[in-house]
Each structure stands twice: as structure tokens, then as C-alpha cells.
Symmetry: C2
Subunit: 165 residues, 2 copies
């Protein structure tokens, strides 16, 4: 971590403030509270967890405001929204941290991160060949981690069967 969190937090608060000002939207304490909570908790949180954390931290916000703010933060790219295969979206801070992709353990649901520069080339080539203006991507690798801490849940009903061998 090259930049201490306080520095990052300060920067993103200013960026968010400016974003709101330019759009003629209000700078409310609730909005900054959501931004702060997300940047203080490093990880991939869903909206409801974030909501609970704010509430137990003594901050009186509503779920609606949390969702609304996460939308704003996603729009100005200070936060990234991920859909990891299930219905519930997860959010992650996106400023001052290296761009990366995700590795999901199907046993323990843990999220790991990795980088591979080849993704950039893939993106550029596809963009060119298919005449598509690419905005962003999401690459998720699903599998089984080999950590001791991983429960490695046994498959329900015995051996996993797959028609394609």
C-alpha cells in the first residue's frame, strides 16, 4: 500500500465533492459517510453489509440512501460494482488501488485478486476487430482455493458429475 488510507480518503472526498458540484447535486453528510465507510473497509461488500456497518457505527442512514450513493459513486468511478454470479451486487473502492480481476472460491466464497496485462491486449483487439468502444470489463475465474482455512465443502450427493467428462 503506497498511499496511506487517510491520503486516499482525502483525495476521493474531494473528487466526489467536485463531481457532485459539477452535476449540481448536494454534498450531504450521508453521501460522504457512505464513501468513507467503503474506503475504510477494504474488501468487497454488499449494500446491506455497508448499511449495517454504518448503522452500528452510529450513522443514521437509510438503505435507500446507501443504494443511491453507491450508484453515484459508481457513476464517477470511485467505486466499482461487481456481480459475482449471485444476485447480490458487491462494491469495491476503485481509486488509488491497482486495477485487477477476481478469483472466486466456490467452496468458501472468498474473493481473491490478480492482475494480468494480457487482458488489456485482448480488450484492444476485440475492440478493433468488432468495432466496439469498450468501456470496462469484468473477468471472474471460478474454482477452488487450496487454503487450509477453506472449508472445501463436499459436494451434495457424492461425486460431481458432468456430462461432458
Amino acid at each position: 500500500m503506497a498511499t496511506p488510507l487517510t491520503g486516499v480518503l482525502n483525495e476521493v472526498e474531494h473528487l466526489f465533492a467536485e463531481f457532485l458540484r459539477e452535476r449540481g447535486q448536494r454534498q450531504t453528510p450521508e453521501r460522504f459517510a457512505v464513501l468513507k465507510a467503503l474506503y475504510e473497509s477494504d474488501g468487497h461488500l454488499d449494500a446491506d453489509t455497508l448499511y449495517s456497518q454504518l448503522r452500528s457505527g452510529g450513522i443514521r442512514v437509510s438503505r435507500a440512501t446507501v443504494y443511491n450513493t453507491l450508484e453515484l459513486l459508481t457513476e464517477c468511478r470511485l467505486v466499482e460494482r461487481h456481480q459475482f454470479g449471485n444476485r447480490q451486487a458487491k462494491y469495491e473502492r476503485a481509486y488509488g488501488f491497482r486495477q485487477h480481476d477476481h478469483l472466486l472460491c466456490l467452496d468458501c466464497n472468498e474473493v481473491f485478486e490478480f492482475c494480468d496485462p494480457r487482458l488489456q491486449s485482448v480488450q484492444e483487439m476485440v475492440s478493433e476487430v468488432l468495432h466496439f468502444e469498450i468501456n470496462h470489463h469484468s473477468l471472474h475465474l471460478y474454482g477452488h482455493c487450496r487454503r487450509d482455512a477453506c472449508p472445501n465443502l463436499p459436494t451434495a450427493g457424492g461425486t460431481r458429475r458432468d456430462v461432458r467428462g
Copy 2:
């Protein structure tokens, strides 16, 4: 399309039948109807669209059965489930068609497909370096297609703003 649909359909029906038999599960007409409907409609459908198509085709199934069957078909890898950023899952036939990734237009929501062999190498390297057994992946590129047919919806509220330039 190298293999005519009838051939593919026949094959997948047999594969599904065998899968069910091995698991001691019943081969009901509803299950085969879902499989058929999905293989006849080439594209990326959500469960409810599939349900409607079946109903308007005169087949009496329930939503519950459609979901249940899609789960079975996903388990035996005859069907792939995708989560394209929104809350609603989409399903696609996965047997006898080349493996590919997806390109999503943020304006018209159209889904395009592409292949890039480098993805395989990325997957292998990550697997090795991070000691992870990779099962499958999903790569989605989001952006704007440049087709005439694309509505290219103007952004609500004027120019798109992005804090990061």
C-alpha cells in the same frame, strides 16, 4: 453452424437423459421441453422469457420447474448461466457450440460473442501462480456497439462525467 440443430438436439437429449438416469432422477416431459426450448432459441434468455415461450408454445410448465430444470442443465453443463451485470440471470446452450466470451452493449443491451485463446493462458498462469484449481471463467466486455440499429441512448442529464478523466 457445422452441426444442424436436430442433430445437436438429439445428442443433448440423450446426454441429459443419461445424466438424470445416473442420478436417479426422473425424465419428465417438462424437463425435456425446457432443454428443447433453450436449444431451439439461439441466444441468451432469462428464465422468465423461456417460461413465456414455453407457455405460448402450448406447453404447461410452471416457473418453478423452469428454474429447477435450468439448474439441472447447468449442473451437467448442457447450459451456461450468465450474470451480465444486472440482477437477472441469462441462460445459453453450451453443447456443440464453440466456447466464447461476451461483449455487452450498454446502449441497446445486445449481447455479442468473441473468442480469444489468450484467455486460456491467463487462466493457466493464474491457476499455477495462485494455487487455485480453476473450474470456469466469465469475461464480459462492456461498451458501445456502433451498429445503425443501436439506439445509442443519450446519457440522462447531458455529458457523461468521470472523475478519473
